[in-house]
Point group: C2
Chain length 364, copies 2
């Protein structure tokens, strides 16, 4: 076992030991689970991330309403410990099946649906302070990477400069025990929202000319991509640029990369990149780059509602961000990255990004 | 330009030349587009694929109802020719933006929505008899591959034996001009429906022990994965096994891999693998492998409707397939591949698949 595996196992064991101690001393056995609600979330101005406040909830064994969840918590914890000890990883769907069984001769199942086991996993993550990936659980495998870096994945050396058109598939678990960074010449990381844009930039060898690492997450980036961005930013000290559609959804994707999400606030510290730079599409890019009117799309009511919500978030309080969002709302239109193609198929590679980078034209 | 690129360009040029000839000789310029409707689709018993019959529709230039589509067809054709000549590829979304413009001083756009340009692409594919990928258009980048093969992707050598946990990202365009097969020791190809199962089998190094190529398409496999399966089957003469959930959707995924889909019948010849083998989950596997009752899921009304539809398809007419589908309907339950995890986390790797392969327990 490596250091992280040992540490995570110890955290799980400590949780169980404490409950045993309580039982022996005649207390009602319980765990304290940090509350994952909006009321217990705050924006940390200094760290620039969304994080949990200190509220905790007791989950008691001798309590009709809590006993089942109490047992489920330890069932999941025990399965994770076994996974780590066996050196195996599994999906949260698999974990549901792994831990589902009928109790004794009753008709009572440990879990009825995966909707029951998923929140227990999140509870466990936040209670023992370990990422899902450290518990050896994975989400979906999504996203690809190419560019000027060599890394090691499960003992195999991946030269991302020679990964063809497809790229290396970013796995869901990218912790140090699986993925190690080796030699790189990259000056920055560029995350693009869409696989089609990734393909365009890769075909044009953008990453070679501009010495960067190119990565996409197929829409909202999955945990593996976000965690990898975080690690590349922290360990390799590379700036991270984000290229998304010019619409509230694009802003939201950037925002989650930057300071984490409200739902999963407890993991921001290890997933977020507070200094991530928004390189486009900006609401001012249509004019700046002379895009034609007929590639714009009208904002929907949902878009407008979301944009308004965003103005209320403290992490969009900066003057430039207010101008950005207000411009979007005032114009009443949104733009996809692909709209740049109306100026030429490689406009994004040859004109748009180089000018943005040259002029330092991004938002933080 | 390579041979395929030349051939595709010629096909596009011939289409345009023919229209020019018609115009010069005083005919009403037109193209003949094979009809993509259910009535024009048949199951070819001999080739075991779904294919188009011969019905064609004239698309006339001097016809108020058809003039716009006529022009759109040539607009898309001309853009594809430019793409091929420039050695670039693009997404169908990009193509929409590339070809969208306002006509002269009118307010008339060439296309209003992508929903207009997508069918024109399909028309063009079937009219000039070229796959979308040969027209340099790509769909989504989805799916990963690992296993005992070396291939070349855009000049980069990909050793799929050393691709770590993530694997090589299967690109959308896998035509010979981009992807070439090199040395391999694989005895078969295994397509799994889900990325979580891919990860399980890859972590357990199933492909090494059983000498195969492991691939997933993240659900219904995208065109790139299907085309790659077809090429590996034809060029490397490898049998293809398909592992999907035991439900009508899983059967459908297998069915599309095997004989193509009704919607895209014109491409079956180059996408389908008529000899693909269904290795599970079979409706008989619950009993065969002693899976517990509590991992089953009740069939929905939709499931039952779909299963009934399947019984009517000529490609499910075989006695074994009827038994398979009837068993599913009679039992009233379905099973996910992940349900195998209830027997142990690596049950699929160590027990299920080896026994299936050993006993020749699959359907064709």
């Amino acid at each position: 076992m490596d250091a992280t595996q040992k540490k995570t196992t110890q955290k799980l064991v400590r949780l169980a030991d404490e409950v045993l101690r309580q039982a022996k001393s005649g207390e009602n056995p319980h765990v304290e689970v940090p509350t994952r609600t909006l009321a217990n979330v705050r924006y940390n101005e200094k760290k620039k991330i969304i994080e949990l406040k200190g509220d905790k909830q007791k989950r008691l064994f001798f309590n009709v309403g809590q006993a089942k969840k109490f047992m489920q918590t330890f069932l999941v914890g025990s399965a994770c410990k076994e996974l780590i000890e066996a050196g195996k990883t599994t999906s949260i769907r698999d974990l549901y099946y792994l831990t589902k069984h009928t109790l004794g001769t009753t008709k009572q199942n440990t879990f009825e649906e995966q909707e029951e086991s998923d929140p227990i996993i999140e509870d466990l993550e936040v209670t023992v302070d370990a990422l899902r990936e450290e518990l050896h659980l994975f989400a979906s495998n999504k996203g690809n990477l190419v560019g000027e870096i060599t890394l090691v994945d499960s003992g195999d050396t991946i030269d991302a400069r020679r990964m063809g058109s497809g790229g290396w598939g970013v796995p869901s678990i990218v912790e140090e025990e699986t993925i190690q960074f080796k030699k790189h010449e990259a000056k920055f990381v560029l995350l693009v929202e869409k696989d089609a844009v990734f393909r365009r930039l890769n075909e044009d060898r953008f990453w070679k000319k501009h010495h960067c690492i190119l990565i996409h997450g197929g829409g909202q980036p999955p945990r593996g991509v976000r965690r990898l961005l975080h690690r590349m930013h922290e360990e390799l000290e590379l700036p991270v640029y984000v290229l998304v559609d010019n619409d509230p959804w694009g802003f939201y994707i950037y925002s989650v990369v930057k300071q984490g999400s409200i739902n999963l606030a407890y993991e921001s510290m290890r997933m977020a990149v507070p200094k991530a730079r928004f390189i486009g599409l900006s609401s001012f890019d249509k004019e700046k780059f002379g895009l034609p009117d007929n590639v714009t799309i009208k904002l929907t009511d949902d878009d407008e509602k979301r944009a308004k919500q965003m103005l209320a978030y403290p992490w969009f309080e900066k003057k430039q961000w207010r101008k950005e969002i207000e411009k979007l709302m005032k114009s009443g239109i949104k733009l996809e990255i692909e709209a740049l193609s109306s100026m030429g198929i490689s406009f994004v590679t040859d004109e748009f990004l180089p000018r943005k980078l040259r002029e330092g034209d991004w938002l933080e």
